[in-house]
């Protein structure tokens, strides 16, 4: 069985800050991490590997530094990595990104299951997974909390509004994963990190994946950012301070006044 996991390097969102004056992002000194949804997807793939002996290949599109997340994945137990990196991909929106990743997966050739995090924490779109599935012409199941496979089919627990479904799919299939509460990503031991250096990471460009240049980067991206602006300033509400007792009394009074106490 061959599993491909698509992963992305993202700025650690808990450390991305905004300059209060200019309203722009401060990325200086912000560390990069593996997108936690992808981290979880990878762990799911590795669990299936442990059971079925599947080969796990990780794919990432990004700058040269993104090799760090591939190395992390290899240290955790993935078998091989592919870094898709070229200036030709700059300006890609989710359409161009999913096309490029799908072409990469086609070049890898063999796949029974593709796992993606449901979204990247720096974009929150959740579009790339379904996009890849379309370009590969395979079915998808999105927002899955658990993923399992015996090598012949996939069984997942998928979130739906107000509940969940247990679903099964024939292979090949693309699955996107959500992540559980209290998810603490696994990190490798020092020895595993050390040994991962010997695993293969290929670096490919648009030429390697035989992509249509008109479908890459900015050219392959239908969406355009036309303006960015700080959110509108707002008016402060009626403010109260004082002892906890005083404020609680005022609080209850407001609840009564606005008739929220029934």
């Amino acid at each position: 069985m061959n599993i491909i996991v698509c992963i992305k390097q993202v700025p650690d969102s808990t450390q991305v800050k905004v300059d209060p004056k200019t309203g722009t992002l401060i990325r200086a000194g912000v560390p990069s991490i593996l997108n936690p949804y992808d981290h979880y997807a990878l762990e799911k793939a590795l669990a299936i590997k442990a059971k079925t002996g599947a080969k796990v290949t990780v794919v990432s599109m990004g700058p040269a530094q993104a090799v760090a997340v591939l190395r992390l994945a290899l240290a955790l137990g993935a078998d091989e990595g592919v870094l898709l990196s070229s200036r030709a991909f700059a300006g890609s929106d989710t359409w161009a990104t999913s096309y490029a990743l799908a072409m990469t997966i086609k070049k890898i050739g063999q796949f029974d299951m593709i796992l993606c995090g449901q979204m990247a924490i720096d974009g929150d779109t959740a579009q790339t997974g379904p996009g890849i599935a379309y370009h590969l012409g395979i079915p998808q199941i999105t927002f899955c909390e658990s993923v399992d496979s015996d090598g012949t089919r996939a069984v997942v627990k998928k979130l739906i509004e107000g509940g969940h479904q247990i679903m099964e799919a024939d292979l090949p299939v693309l699955i996107t994963t959500t992540m559980p509460v209290d998810y603490a990503p696994k990190y490798p031991s020092f020895m595993a990190a050390h040994k991962a250096q010997d695993k293969k990471i290929s670096t490919w460009t648009e030429v390697d994946i035989q992509a249509d240049p008109h479908k890459l980067g900015l050219e392959g991206s239908p969406t355009r950012v036309s303006r960015i602006f700080p959110p509108a300033a707002r008016q402060k509400g009626e403010m109260f301070s004082g002892s906890a007792e005083e404020m609680a009394a005022k609080f209850v009074e407001i609840l009564k006044k606005e008739s929220f106490i029934k």
């Binding site: 990325r27 996009g131 099964e168 969406t223 959110p231 403010m239 007792e245 106490i261």
Partner: protein
Amino acid sequence: MIQIASNCVGCGKCVSTCPFGALSLVNRKAVANASCTMCGACVSVCPVKALSLPASGAAKKDLSAYKGVWAFIEIADNGQKQFVRPVGLELLSKGRELADQLGEELCAVVIGDNIQPYFAELSSYGADKIYAVEGQGYHDYNTAAYANAMVTLIKKYNPSVVLYPSTYIGRDLSPRISSELFVGLTADCTGLSIQDGLLIQTRPAFGGNIMADIKCPDYRPQMSTVRPNVFKKVVSRPGAMAQVVNEPIAIPAQAGKVRIISKQMDPITCGEKLDEAEVVLAGGRGMKDKAGFEMLETLACELGGAVGASRAAIDLGLKPKEKQIGQSGVTVAPKLYVACGISGAVQHIVGMEHSDTIIAVNKDANAPIFNVCKYGFVGDARQILPKVIDGVKKAKN
């Protein structure tokens, strides 16, 4: 990289606008470095139009042939009954405004089984036309079946705008369609408007602390997803009846590759579902621990509300991820929203700002949450809440 023409006057406006720090002034001219992602944020601030993105490669097709604003209406089944998910009505309400501005018709697209009962309601929210794809095979959502139906309809009728709910179904379906049609799709828009005939899609970007306007000038239809509770429901045509166009579309064989084995709805505990509750109590980092959240649960039971949390509290493991309120979680617009120990980062604010009455409790008098609330209490929520609970209990007796 962004293209910088020689007429750059070195004013530096683009430098401070760039979200990635990719621009700088060298010898009083703007210069872009490798951090440029070609997001285009700088293009509109340049006073002399010296900045531009490389030309789009889209085949220049005749965009005037694309007319009509569509809203995908999600039919839900909670195990007890089938109903129109309210976000569909919100999309129609907003869609009505857009269609009027464009001078085009508003169409509801409904896919499902036994859907006629909803047509009157959809009409009252402004639909001029209803495209109905009906069949037993459409009772449960299936990506391949629904995507095939939508793509068939879009190719047949060429709408200029298609809106989807940002639900599990909408988010599964819409990117599949945009990929096939090679069109843009903007996720989780918090604002939609028309400018020069183009759909301007506004959403928080780059981590959720700045707003971005996004457009798709060269591709049709322009597609967006919108969270529940972002737009208000407005009955604009009470008693009207839309023209219904039945479209029999066969379910493709590929649909059978994915099967539902079982379906289970979560038991609804005290209060209601977060996105449908009339009262929402939300806690942030300032609630400190599970004991802090228990106070919120208690008050929620007293007021008949639901409890949510900010991203910071979710990160601390105080609430499950699905209770997160904000850009990367659930959007709510209840009658009463109480924010406790939440500072109010933009990414949280966009998820609750449309609530009718907002009460905020926070230790920091300068917390941004106070800028969106109607009533603000400067103090420790953990001290105040127990006393509020007592007060509410007394008031009820």
